[in-house]
């Protein structure tokens, strides 16, 4: 039973990471019906932005936990968000907007192109920024005193504080997002645009701005995920967005693409399934090497039996 609880915690924290990224896929899809395959790279850029912020702060080490958690960590998250939001808005403005009325295949292929471009750009040039390490291999992520390597023990169950951070971050972001979508004017504009963009324009809604806010919100959450990833795995690299992005996309489809609640639920379910599969499926099929297989088997099952996803797709509805 301890093992079950342990894997549940592990799965939820992994799933929270997926969910934070999945929201970005779903919000953008809900409004422009674009699968932004470059979103995994936005997550990666967020992690690098957070790392760069730490370097700019003078690579502070051996801090008290107060200074680390309430000073350095928020600054890193903010720096990561600035980087990811800026890159997301640039891609929207320069690459997707000119293709707004093109056949849907065109922006999709563009998204894949942007994904490759961002990976290569970070790989080749991040190290050229003064003070930044070579980015052709993995970069150790800064340790945050009080979180990195720390854990709580409940009986035989170990809870990493990086997991607590990830789950807590998801909870806070979900509350903010709910408020943003349901209680602000921009949020109402988003819901209206997702239901009927041309009528939304007749209401006086600036649809371009709504689309930009969708990209920005998704990127901001992806940056939080980037920091969570760094704390969880201890390093970041230019390739980290690929698999994470694919998993998060799976999570978004699993929950029902376009549905914000769905992205959160889909992420958590996917994380738990992966972590349970590696523990409770017997023989070699339960080995860690198979965990991605089970994730995508789950996706295929959902697509076959419930193609609209667990919570149903259709527009950015009530978050």
């Amino acid at each position: 039973m301890d093992l079950f609880w342990q894997q549940l915690i592990n799965g939820l924290s992994l799933g929270a990471l997926y969910a934070l990224i999945a929201v970005g896929y779903t919000v953008v899809y809900g409004i422009v019906q674009l699968i932004n395959f470059a979103h995994g790279e936005i997550f990666m850029v967020g992690a690098f932005g957070a790392f760069a912020t730490w370097v700019v702060l003078g690579s502070p080490k051996q801090l008290s936990w107060q200074a680390a958690i309430f000073g350095v960590l928020p600054a890193m998250i903010l720096g990561g968000m600035i980087a990811s939001v800026a890159v997301a808005l640039l891609t929207e403005r320069l690459a997707y907007r000119p293709l707004r009325d093109a056949p849907r295949l065109a922006p999709l292929i563009t998204a894949i192109g942007i994904s490759v471009f961002l990976q290569e750009f970070v790989r080749l040039f991040f190290g050229d920024i003064p003070g930044m390490p070579d980015s052709k291999r993995a970069i150790p992520f800064p340790t945050i005193t009080g979180i990195s390597g720390e854990a709580w023990h409940l009986g035989n169950v170990t809870i990493q504080l990086s997991s607590v951070f990830t789950i807590g971050a998801l909870a806070i972001c979900t509350v903010f997002l709910w408020f943003y979508v349901n209680r602000t004017k921009t949020g109402r504009a988003m819901i209206a645009t997702s239901q009927d963009p041309s009528t939304a324009r007749l209401m006086g809604i600036n649809v371009d701005r709504v689309i930009m806010s969708a990209f920005a919100v998704g990127a901001a959450l992806a940056a939080v995920a980037g920091v969570a990833h760094g704390l969880r795995y201890g390093n970041i690299d230019f390739r980290m967005g690929f698999l994470a992005g694919l998993k998060a996309f799976t999570a978004a489809v699993l929950g029902g693409i376009g549905n914000i609640n769905g992205a959160v639920v889909g992420g958590l379910v996917l994380g738990v399934v992966e972590s349970m599969a590696t523990t409770f499926i017997p023989g070699q099929f339960g080995s860690p090497a198979w965990k991605d297989v089970w994730a995508f088997v789950l996706l295929i099952l959902v697509l076959v039996f419930r193609p609209q996803g667990l919570l149903g797709s259709k527009g950015v509805d009530r978050a």
Binding site: R188, A192, Q195, S198, T199, A200, L202, M203, G204, N206
Partner: protein, 235 residues
């Protein structure tokens, strides 16, 4: 108030509106008549900024508005209740009306105008928290008109407000249009129901395949043989 000059609008390579010129004077009800595909809705969508002009111009209160983004046109005082009503069906009556007032910043004025819509259409007030998708065609049309009124427009464009409605409902809608006119709102009305439209229009324009064939006062058009034959079902 509104001047359309030599306006050409195309979908892809096909010209849907082939150089039309007409004006709407302040305080008037002006109607565009014509069969399906005559270019009536295209004209309204172009005025609202949803479609770009190939050539020609649109002038509103002395300023060119063609080429301005749609949301800015609403701010200038032109609202449209589109063809097919296009309500946000999953949203409540009240949320639909609030969206109609999206460009406004005077919350007390918005509140007053919402009350005005409820006074005009009491059924909407009674059901203000229900999702609009559940409503009958007539109620949906009332909401579509009310929603367009919420931006407090100087010019209100109504695209086929009587479509799919019973004769009684159509009368109610036409009565509402007259009331709006007496409140000082200028109205550009697109209708298939020619007799209803012409009986309250100050001026009518008859469109065929993207061109204006002729125009006159509403009353004169009601008695015009060509109109009678083509739109009023007389032989």
């Amino acid at each position: 108030m509104l001047e359309i000059k030599d306006m050409v609008v195309a979908y892809g390579r096909v010209n849907a509106v082939k150089g039309i010129t007409f004006t709407v004077e302040k305080g008037q009800v002006v109607t565009l008549l014509g069969t399906n595909g005559a270019g009536k809705s295209t004209t309204l969508r172009a005025i609202s900024g949803l479609l770009k002009l190939v050539s020609g111009s649109i002038t509103f209160e002395g300023e060119r508005i063609d080429g301005i983004p749609a949301h800015k046109i609403v701010e200038r005082g032109i609202a449209q209740s589109p063809e097919g009503r296009r309500l946000f069906r999953k949203m409540s009556v009240e949320d639909n009306l609030k969206l109609g007032a999206f460009s406004r910043k005077d919350s007390s004025g918005v509140k007053a105008d919402m009350q005005k819509v409820y006074d005009l259409f009491p059924v909407l007030g009674e059901r203000r928290h229900q999702p609009s998708g559940l409503f009958s065609g007539g109620e949906q049309q009332m909401l579509a008109i009310g929603r367009a009124m919420m931006s407090n427009p100087k010019l209100l464009m109504l695209d086929e407000p009587s479509m799919g409605l019973s004769p009684i409902m159509t009368q109610t809608i036409m009565r509402t249009i007259r009331e709006l006119q007496s409140d000082g709102v200028t109205i550009l009305l697109v209708e298939q129901n020619a007799s209803a439209a012409l009986s309250l229009a100050d001026r009518g324009y008859v469109l065929e395949v993207g061109q204006i064939m002729f125009s006159d006062t509403g009353k004169a058009l009601l008695g015009d043989d060509r109109v009678k034959r083509a739109y009023l079902g007389a032989d």
